[in-house]
């Protein structure tokens, strides 16, 4: 079945997708390594303590400021190292969206640069805005 409306920039899209795939994979590998390191450290230190998650206490686990987490992680706090790994993991798809905005802009596809920017702004609002 012959079609004439095939997008002219197909090759570009493919290249962008390839780079994006690599970006995502690397992000996941790096964060998994950090989480694993923090986890091993945690088990070595607190392995004998009991662990319970039956009751939900919102304050117990709510995220401390980014600066506090980074600082604790640098001082070898196992839980904070895990948190850094998890934050890297969450940042990975956000980086992918940011990269897509740039890629669409380079392809001179203004419509999709704007649509992707909307997705990015929603993510930023969720992560840094007042959304609770």
């Amino acid at each position: 079945m012959a079609e004439s409306n095939k997008p002219p920039s197909r090759w570009n899209d493919e290249r962008v997708e390839r780079i994006m795939g690599t970006l995502l994979q690397n992000g996941v590998i790096i964060s998994a390594v950090v989480v694993l390191a923090g986890g091993i450290l945690y088990l070595l230190r607190y392995g004998r303590l009991p662990l319970r998650y039956e009751n939900f206490v919102a304050e117990r686990e709510s995220l401390r400021g980014l600066g506090v987490v980074a600082n604790s992680a640098l001082h070898g706090d196992a839980r904070a190292i895990i948190e850094v790994g998890l934050l890297l993991l969450i940042a990975t798809p956000v980086a992918r969206v940011l990269f897509s905005i740039i890629a669409f802009a380079l392809e001179k596809d203004r419509l999709y640069a704007v649509l992707t920017l909307i997705v990015f702004l929603i993510l930023i609002y969720s992560l840094f805005g007042g959304a609770t």
Partner: protein
């Protein structure tokens, strides 16, 4: 239970969940929450927090493999992500406000529906009519590789698909799952996008959708780092191996067994929710 016993057990359970999720295409998220809640007595809010983070990992981890095959359509994905991320924000907003029992009932119902969806039902037939005007304006039509050269496809009912994607995003944010089955339903059945393109594009979208709920989950204390650690690592390892095996394995029977397990877990969740166990 001591930490030294709890963590390896959760790791093992998550590994199996990730493996089965990849083999059946349903994703690990739908099993991990009932597993944590029913077997490990984890509060449902911590369970969906851990699941949501593992969903980001598997989606991003698998993306590279899918992208190489050239099936996913990033334009369709990006456009629909506007709907899924807004839905995810709304879902997480609800999760922060609803009681655990209600979330369990919704979760159980979604499990039962997913199980039924995964059982039978052929894929949507190839759409041959004219694409709708949104599809043209948004340049959604494209092509995907087949054994006999690239195959073109057109897209229809874009507004309906967009609306359904908001719903899929809401479920993702409310339950901490990828809601891949519902994303595929919207693309394959409603927008008539070829099945292969629908599944790979859906996988691509899941990570971004989940990231949109993550902010609220983090601030509301749903993400318990020490619990999330074995869940993320286990599900990720399981799904990576599952995706490798997928190429060779015959998954029909596995799929049916898995569907039955999911249905049973769904009934258990609904029952537990109604009797006030969560």
């Amino acid at each position: 239970m001591t930490t030294l016993l709890f963590i390896p057990l959760v790791l093992l359970g998550s590994f199996v969940a990730g493996l089965l999720g990849a083999l059946t295409g349903l994703g690990g998220g739908v099993v991990i929450v009932p597993l944590l809640v029913v077997a490990f007595h984890v509060n449902i809010k911590y369970a969906i927090g851990a699941s949501l983070i593992s969903v980001i990992a598997t989606s991003s981890g698998a993306a590279a493999a899918y992208v190489r095959e050239g099936f996913s359509n990033i334009r369709i994905g990006m456009f629909l992500e506007i709907a899924t991320t807004m839905g995810a924000l709304f879902g997480a907003f609800l999760a922060a406000r609803l009681a655990g029992g209600i979330i369990a009932i919704v979760f159980g119902s979604v499990l039962i529906i997913s199980s039924v969806l995964s059982m039978g039902r052929g894929h949507g037939e190839k759409f041959t009519g004219p694409p709708d005007r949104w599809a043209i304006r948004l340049k959604l039509s494209s092509a995907y590789p087949t054994a006999h050269g690239p195959e073109n496809y057109k897209v229809c009912r874009v507004p309906a698909g967009f609306g359904m994607m908001f719903g899929a995003g809401t479920l993702s944010g409310l339950l901490g799952i990828g809601s891949g089955a519902f994303k595929v339903l919207a693309m394959d059945q409603v927008m008539r996008i070829p099945f292969k393109v629908s599944t790979t594009t859906s996988n691509f979208m899941i990570g971004v959708t989940a990231a949109a709920s993550a902010g609220i989950y983090l601030r509301r204390g749903f993400v318990a780092p020490v619990l999330v650690m074995p869940v993320v690592l286990g599900v990720l390892a399981g799904s990576v191996i599952g995706t490798r095996v997928l190429v060779r394995a015959r998954t029909r029977w596995l799929r049916i067994i898995f569907a039955l397990v999911i249905a049973a877990l769904g009934i258990e969740m609904v029952y537990g929710g109604i009797t006030g166990r969560f």
